[in-house]
Symmetry: C2
């Protein structure tokens, strides 16, 4: 019927040795499409089209839709938490400063990037795909909570906090970040939310609420 364009960037050019570039293109395209549609509703035809590749090509590099999504998560999510883990031991300032730094990090590295959408996707699709929540628990959540517990213990040890509530409920620290993620996805068009200010207000309340009476 019609001649397909034969010289598109990736298509059919430099056939050997481009395996890596093609895999990259597929992963990038998959990120876009999964974020826009969710895991279940994302269409592999769309991903292929956006990557400038035929659908069959995807199956040369990834077993199936699920493995493609896992590969995506692994490379997007792993590095961040590892960086944060490295940050903590060397920090010398007050717990208040430390928590504000973490809040700033949450805002800059998650809420202001595509990672917030990935986080939302995990929240949305996790319940129906147990491998997803299991992956996220292992790679991120358990490690994140350990960091927060360490911060709480450090604050108590330094005599800054009177309460061990942060060790018992480390979930309290990231709570407003989750609210911000959900807010951005559902209600931002009705009422804008200053996420950075929200996180800082929360940290202030936390520090003041957990602090010893004196000072």
């Amino acid at each position: 019927m019609e001649r397909r364009p034969r010289e598109t960037s990736l298509r059919s050019r430099g056939r050997r040795g481009n395996a890596e570039a093609r895999q990259r293109a597929v992963l990038d395209a998959a990120l876009e499409v999964f974020l826009a549609k969710g895991f279940a509703a994302a269409r592999l035809d769309d991903i292929a089209a956006r990557a400038g590749v035929a659908k069959g090509t995807i199956y040369l590099y990834f077993r199936d839709k699920e493995h493609l999504f896992q590969a995506l998560l692994r490379e997007a999510v792993g590095p961040v938490i590892t960086r944060v883990e490295g940050l903590l031991p060397s920090f010398a300032g007050s717990t208040g400063d430390l928590l504000h730094m973490i809040a700033e990090l949450m805002d800059r590295e998650i809420l202001q990037t595509r990672r917030k959408d990935l986080l939302r996707l995990i929240i949305a699709e996790g319940p129906r795909f147990p491998w997803l929540s299991e992956f996220y628990w292992r790679e991120v959540v358990s490690r994140g909570l350990a960091i927060i517990r360490a911060v709480g213990a450090r604050a108590v040890a330094r005599g800054e906090f009177a309460s061990d509530a942060l060790e018992r409920f480390p979930q309290l620290l990231p709570a407003p970040m989750l609210v911000a993620v959900i807010w951005g996805a559902l209600f931002d068009r009705f009422d804008k939310l200053d996420t950075r200010a929200l996180l800082d207000a929360h940290v202030d309340i936390l520090v003041r609420g957990l602090a010893r009476r004196d000072s």
Copy 2:
């Protein structure tokens, strides 16, 4: 081929005058199936089977899948917030007691019921179904935030709170409830979470963090 059972509770018995009972059966079945599968993945065939009704019958009572889900939400979600709105004006105690009461209510009426799953469903499906987030914003979120702002203003007026942070960021109060919802759906099998204790710990921190220095 085979005789369908002719005397099942609803089917073919009391053909006239059972409209209400059938609608109830469909709504109950729809709740179960939507919670189990999510909005997009729920199958009307399943809902019909569970309601003991033919698929076509659903369309006698509801225009389509979307309107069925809306009807469900309306009856499950509306009454609660209305009840809470009625509670506030008559409350005479301290803000701490008021907030603990609200926390208890969140736990008992949402986290301990199916409503938590409905809330999760709205978080999960809202971004891809704007009518959903619009509905929830109008019926619940905007009204809930107004209540919280009123509580914050009352606390400042009574001289209990030094800060107006709760009025500026009312989202901070329900934040741990959302965490609990997400936790229950994704991570409970790895690490149980005492939601009631979490909410109480949060309220304590909030009250202490916002309070005036004296007392």
